[in-house]
C-alpha cells in the first residue's frame, strides 16, 4: 500500500546518509528507510545504490506532490576533480 509522503518533501536521514547519497549519485528522497518512521540510514542509501530497494515505490510517489529540494546534481564532484591537490 502507498505510504504517505513526508510533508514538504522532507527526508529524515542523518547528515552522513545525506552526504553518502550525493556521493553515490542517489536521490535520497527515493530511498526506502528502514528505521522508525522510515528514517533512512547509510545502509539504506547503499542498498538503494546497489539496486537493493526497487526504487519505484513510496518515495517516488511522494516526491511528485512534494518536490524535495534534493540535490540530484552530483556533477560538482566530477567537474572540480580537475583541480590539482597540493599533495599530488
Amino acid at each position: 500500500e502507498p505510504e504517505p509522503e513526508t510533508p514538504s518533501g522532507r527526508t529524515f536521514a542523518p547528515p552522513s546518509a545525506r552526504r553518502l547519497a550525493r556521493e553515490l549519485g542517489v536521490d535520497i528522497a527515493a530511498v526506502d528507510g528502514s528505521g522508525p518512521g522510515d528514517r533512512i540510514s547509510e545502509a539504506d542509501v547503499r542498498a538503494h545504490a546497489e539496486g537493493g530497494d526497487g526504487g519505484s515505490d513510496t518515495a517516488d510517489s511522494g516526491s511528485d506532490e512534494a518536490p524535495a529540494p534534493t540535490p540530484t546534481d552530483v556533477g560538482s564532484g566530477g567537474r572540480k576533480s580537475a583541480v590539482k591537490k597540493r599533495g599530488d
Binding site: P4, R10, P14, R19, E23, G37, P71, V74, V83, R86
Partner: protein, 475 residues
C-alpha cells in the same frame, strides 16, 4: 591544474576573513588547495571584532555585576562597581586573542594571507589594493573564488554614525563610559542584547521600535518573557514609533524624536542613540559585475545549495549571501564552499540552522515552530517544560522560561524547539542534533539526561509531548 606563470595565482581566492571567509580558507587549504585569503580590515570579520564576541563578553561582564548586586535572597551582599573602560579592555583582550588565533590558524593550515581590499577584474582575476592611497595593488588570478565580504549596520536618515552621540553596535561595544541615558532604535536581537547589557550597567535605556513588539521573528510567549525581564531591568519600550531625527537638548544631552505611522510625535531625552535596525550586505567596490555576478534588490548575492553564484566557480558565503545572517551559517557555508571546490559531495543540506539571542533570559531556537510545522503540512504535537519546574534551574536562581519541542505526531520526528531560559543557547544544540539525526520524541525522552541539569528539560518536554512527563502535568 597549474595556474600559469604569473607571479600571483591561486587555486582558491577568498575575499573577507570573517567566519564565512576564514573558515572557507582553512578548509580549502586542508583539502590541499592553494588558497589565498584577502582581508581589508581585521581578521575575524564583524563577528570577532564588533559582533558576536565583543557583545557576548560585555553581556557576561554586565550580567555578573548585576547578578552579584542582586543576590541578597541568596545571602550574598555585594555592591559591585563597574569600571567600563576596564571591562572594554578585557573584552579587547578576548578579541585580540581570538583574531590573533584566526591569523595563526590560517597560517598553520598554509593559507596565504594578504591584507588589502579586493575587487574583481574579470571572471578569473582580482585586484587587491593595499592599505591607504599610493600603497600599490596587485593582481591575482584564481581558479575559484569565495566572496565573504559580510555586512555592515544600516544607517537611517538623520542619524549619522560619524556623530559622536550616534552609535552603531560597533561603538556600543567600545564605549569607555556608560551613558546615563541610552536610546536604542530597533528592538531586534542586537538592540535587545545591548539594551539588556546597558540596563544592567546602570543606563536608563529607552527602546523605540517601529513594530508592535521586540524580536520580530519569535513567538509571542518567547518575546513576552524577554520583554518583561527587560522591563524589570528598567528598559522602557515605545512600540509603533520610528526614529525621525535627533536634536540638542537644553541639558547638554540630546532629544530622540520619533513618529508613529499616524504622524504622532514624541521625544525622549538621551545621551547616546544606538541605531540597530539591521545589517546590509557589503559589496561596494567589489566590482562584482566584472566577474558576471549580480546582486538582488536587497543587495545580496544569490547562491545555490552548493554556495555557487550564477558564475559556477565563484561562491558566496555568509552575510553577503543573505539570510540567516549568522556567524555559524557563514561558517557552514564556508565549509561547503571549500569542499565543493575540492570536489567533495558537500551541500547546504542541513535540516535546520539554530539561532540564539543572548538576552536575559537567553533564547535558543532551531527548526520549526508549531505554526511553521502546520504550514509545512505536518500534524505537529508539542511538548513543554517550564524552567520553574526544573530542579537545576531553581538551584541557579533562574527559573524564567521554558523548553518547547515540536514534533510530527504521526512519526514522532523532532521538527523544532523554542527555548527561552538559562543557557538556552547551549541547550538548543541537543535538539539540533536530534533534528539532523531524524530522532523521534521517544529517542530524546529515552536518552538518559544527567541530574540535575537544565538539559533534563529537553527530555521532559519530549516526554510531555508524549503525555508522559514526570515533572509537569501532561496535557
Amino acid at each position: 591544474m597549474v595556474v600559469g606563470d604569473i607571479a600571483t595565482g591561486t587555486e582558491v581566492l577568498v575575499i573577507g576573513a570573517g567566519p564565512g571567509g576564514y573558515v572557507a580558507a582553512i578548509r580549502a587549504a586542508q583539502e590541499g588547495l592553494d588558497t589565498t585569503l584577502v582581508e581589508k580590515d581585521a581578521y575575524g570579520g564583524a563577528c570577532l571584532n564588533r559582533g558576536c564576541i565583543p557583545s557576548k563578553a560585555l553581556i557576561t561582564g554586565s550580567g555578573l555585576a548585576h547578578e552579584a548586586g542582586n543576590a541578597e535572597s541568596m545571602g550574598i551582599h555585594a555592591d559591585p562597581a563597574v569600571d567600563m573602560g576596564k571591562m572594554v579592555e578585557w573584552k579587547d583582550g578576548v578579541v585580540d586573542r581570538l583574531t590573533g588565533g584566526v591569523e595563526k590558524l590560517c597560517k598553520a593550515n598554509g593559507v596565504n594571507l594578504i591584507e588589502g581590499t579586493a575587487s574583481f577584474v574579470d571572471e578569473h582575476t582580482a585586484r587587491v589594493a593595499h592599505g591607504g592611497e599610493g600603497q600599490g595593488s596587485e593582481s591575482i588570478e584564481f581558479e575559484h573564488a569565495v566572496v565573504a565580504t559580510g555586512s555592515r549596520p544600516i544607517q537611517i536618515p538623520g542619524f549619522d554614525f560619524a556623530e559622536d552621540h550616534v552609535w552603531s553596535s560597533a561603538e556600543a561595544l567600545d564605549a569607555d563610559t556608560v551613558p546615563d541615558r541610552l536610546g536604542i532604535v530597533g528592538g531586534g536581537y542586537i538592540g535587545m542584547e545591548l539594551a539588556t547589557t546597558y540596563a544592567k550597567l546602570g543606563a536608563d535605556v529607552t527602546v523605540v521600535e517601529m513594530l508592535d513588539d521586540i524580536l520580530d521573528p519569535y513567538e509571542d510567549d518567547v518575546k513576552r518573557i524577554v520583554r518583561t525581564r527587560a522591563e524589570e531591568l528598567g528598559v522602557e519600550f515605545h512600540f509603533g514609533e520610528g526614529a525621525s531625527e535627533w536634536s540638542e537638548a537644553a541639558d547638554g544631552g540630546y532629544l530622540l524624536h520619533t513618529e508613529t505611522e499616524e504622524g504622532e510625535e514624541s521625544t525622549y531625552g538621551v545621551d547616546k542613540v544606538l541605531v540597530a535596525v539591521g545589517r546590509r550586505p557589503v559589496t561596494d567596490g567589489l566590482d562584482l559585475g566584472e566577474a558576471g555576478i549580480e546582486t538582488d534588490d536587497r543587495g545580496f548575492i544569490e547562491t545555490d545549495d552548493r554556495t555557487r553564484t550564477a558564475v559556477d566557480h565563484i561562491h558566496a558565503v555568509g552575510d553577503v549571501s543573505g539570510e540567516p545572517m549568522l556567524a555559524h551559517a557563514a561558517s557552514k557555508e564556508g565549509i561547503v564552499a571549500a569542499e565543493v571546490i575540492a570536489g567533495e559531495p558537500a551541500a547546504m543540506d542541513q535540516q535546520a540552522i539554530p539561532a540564539a539571542v543572548f538576552t536575559d533570559p537567553e533564547i535558543g531556537t532551531v527548526g520549526l515552530t508549531e505554526a511553521e510545522a502546520e504550514a509545512e503540512g505536518f500534524d505537529p504535537v508539542v511538548g513543554e517544560m517550564p524552567f520553574n519546574a526544573s530542579g537545576r534551574a531553581m538551584t541557579t536562581g533562574h527559573t524564567e522560561g521554558f523548553v518547547r519541542i515540536v514534533a510530527d505526531d504521526e512519526t514522532g520526528f523532532v521538527l523544532g524547539a523554542q527555548i527561552v531560559g538559562p543557557e538556552a543557547s547551549e541547550l538548543i544544540a541537543e535538539v539540533a542534533l536530534a533534528i539532523e539525526m531524524g530522532a523521534t520524541l521517544e529517542d530524546v525522552a529515552a536518552t538518559v539526561h544527567t541530574h540535575p541539569t537544565l538539559a533534563e528539560a529537553v527530555m521532559e518536554a519530549a516526554e510531555n509531548a508524549r503525555g508522559q512527563a514526570i515533572h509537569t502535568l501532561n496535557r
